[in-house]
């Protein structure tokens, strides 16, 4: 499954430069994993209104990409957007408060799970409409090019989104205008509950990039280093004005499309889920770190502990935060 990029990252030079990167990737993934599992528990406990699309399983993609970006690089995300927000650095407090619908939330309680954003960190929002973030990222990249800035835009989407028009229109637009956009396809094998084999006749979504004259690479989406290395190369290319690039990361989500509980019908087998969990992205990077001496078990454990503490504090903050004032319902419908 691992393709070109991960092979490149396995060389001695990569090992030499990777100690700090490995720790960074590990921490980002742990932060996502714990944020999401705790959010799932809160949902199960009936504490959160609305929907919850958990990112657990796909952490290597958000972590690998985001570790290659700068704060001023812009991203557009999806309905499954918490992982991208966490990896981009959006605060736990603002995220949990938003999930709780509190006025201290990232969207002042107006957006919820599917619209979490922090424009100061280049997070142009999760999005409730599949594929809709693609053209918006193209526009953000256009703005950078227009101003002669070297920040880039990255759009995340799933395999299912590559069947919608806005993806194709956005890809072609980015290519024809030679814009600095990275197209990150998180192929988790399912469009909601429909397997990839039933929603497209190709195995590698990356093939679609070729029709827009856009280069692509396929990476093991459970290998954060592979994702990171591929992204570093694509970012350099985009910053140099060489145009958009498509990265397909083969990955998997552990929870269902929405929520935590099981589904009405078994759209996938337990064996399949276990097969992917056996290649868990965090287990993989921890094993790598321990074997090459990048980190000790104690250091890795410390990351988990520290993150758990931060999350407990953030949840307490969210629960203690005030609800929005209904008198402010019309706030921010318009500017000015």
């Amino acid at each position: 499954m691992a393709q070109r990029a991960s092979k490149k990252s396995a060389g001695p030079a990569a090992n030499h430069t990777s100690a700090q990167v490995v720790r960074d990737l590990h921490e980002r993934m742990v932060r996502i994993r714990l944020f999401e599992t705790e959010a799932g528990k809160l949902m199960e406990a009936g504490k959160l209104p609305g929907f919850l699309h958990l990112y657990v399983g796909q952490e290597a993609v958000a972590a690998g990409v985001m570790a290659a970006l700068r704060d001023d690089d812009q991203i557009t995300s999806t309905h499954r957007g918490h992982g991208h927000a966490v990896a981009k650095g959006v605060s736990f407090k603002h995220m949990y408060a938003e999930l709780y619908g509190r006025v201290t939330g990232a969207c002042l309680g107006r957006g919820g799970s599917m619209h979490i954003n922090d424009v100061s960190l280049g997070m142009l929002g999760a999005n409730g409409i599949v594929g809709a973030g693609v053209p918006i990222a193209v526009g953000a990249a256009f703005a950078a090019q227009y101003r002669g800035e070297d920040n880039i835009a990255v759009t995340f989407f799933g395999d299912g989104a590559t069947n919608i028009g806005s993806f194709h229109e956005g890809a072609n637009m980015a290519a024809i205008l030679r814009l600095p956009v990275l197209f990150i396809c998180e192929n988790n094998g399912y469009a909601e509950f429909t397997p990839q084999s039933k929603h497209m006749l190709i195995t590698d979504v990356a093939e679609r990039a070729a029709s827009y004259g856009m280069p692509s690479v396929i990476v093991d989406g459970m290998d954060a280093l592979a994702v990171h290395q591929a992204t570093v190369e694509a970012v350099a290319r985009a910053r140099a004005g060489e145009g958009p690039m498509f990265i397909e990361a083969k990955t998997y989500r552990y929870y269902d499309h929405q929520g935590v509980k099981g589904l009405r019908h078994p759209y996938r087998s337990d064996a399949e889920v276990e097969e992917w969990k056996a290649r868990d992205a965090i287990d993989l990077i921890e094993a790598r770190a321990l074997s090459d001496g990048t980190a000790t078990r104690a250091e890795l454990d410390e990351t988990w502990r520290r993150t758990r503490d931060e999350i407990a504090e953030a949840i307490a903050y969210a629960e203690a935060s005030p609800l929005p004032d209904t008198a402010d319902l019309l706030l921010n419908v318009y500017s000015g």
Binding site: Q74, T76, G105, A106, C107, L108, G109, R110, G111, H115, N117, D118, V119, S120, L124, G125, N127, G128, I129, A132, V134, P135, I136, A137, V138, G139, A140, A141, F142, A143, A144, Y146, A153, G165, S166, E169, G170, N172, M173, I176, L177, L331, N332, V333, Y334, S335, G336
Partner: protein, 341 residues
Amino acid sequence: MTTITEAPALAPGGTARKLSYVKAFNEGLAQAMREDENVFVAGEDVAGYGGVFRMFDNLLDEFGPRRMIDTPISEAALVGLGVGAAARGLRPVVDLMFMDFIGVCLDQIVNQAAKMKYMFGGSVSVPLTITTASGAGLGAAAQHSQSLEAWLAHVPGLKVVMPSDAYTAKGLTVSAIRDDNPVVVMLNKVLLGSTSDVPEQIYGIPLGQAHTARHGSDVTVIALGRMVGEALAAAEELAAEGIEVEVIDPRTVQPLDTETMFASVRRTNRVLVVHEAVTFGGLGGEIAAQIQDAAFDYLDAPVLRIGAPFSPVPFSPVLEKAYVPDQARIVQGCRRLLERS
């Protein structure tokens, strides 16, 4: 009086001269581009060709390919490009050519541009202008002739303007570009060649402020877009019979200046709303409901709506002429209101 006048404060300095609707739009856009480096134009055939309606003539020569961008026929990506660029601080003007094409990019307008500020807790603004040509009368048939303002006026977060002449085509376009919200500028295809007095200098017309285009004491006619001219002609015709019609041009349908309408109705006690869009579910229903809520006791007759029949816009000129409201139907409507009270 049939000319639309403006308070001096809204038309600062410069010499006014006759200019066509499309040239006034073009001039306003060019001046807004000179005023703000962040303004750029993107759309199908806007640069090299100057737009199919010549809306963008000569702009490529002055502003170059960096600020005048021809795009593929990809309305969803085009509007999305505008949304993303606007969220990053530019002031995009994206052109949809025909308003009927809005269906292929409605998500970007309705779910993205309109809602982003609200959903993001106010942390971003989307100063996006969408220009498009609307209206029937050119034998362009059902997919190139619609007036869909009611669709857009229904969406919180959007603003919608409907220039009724060359003067408003320029001023409303300038205001749309300067506004920090997504604004749809609905130009009218039939009016493109019509002329009126247009100041040379740049000026904006406040969004959400109606204009009383003619004062009268007997009937109020609230007319949208091209119907303003028809209403003014109807008013002239009725004036010969001693019937004084007041004509209100809302100019902006979202936000809608209902106060000007209420004040007028309290004086005339009769009101007719006329628009090109189909009557069912059109702005006329909303305006009628608001007037009845705010000024019921002043009404001597039910609010009358005149719009298109509930049918796609027909192609054959004889059918199309029967479809679009005109001076004769407005005259007839005013008479009906006077007879009922």
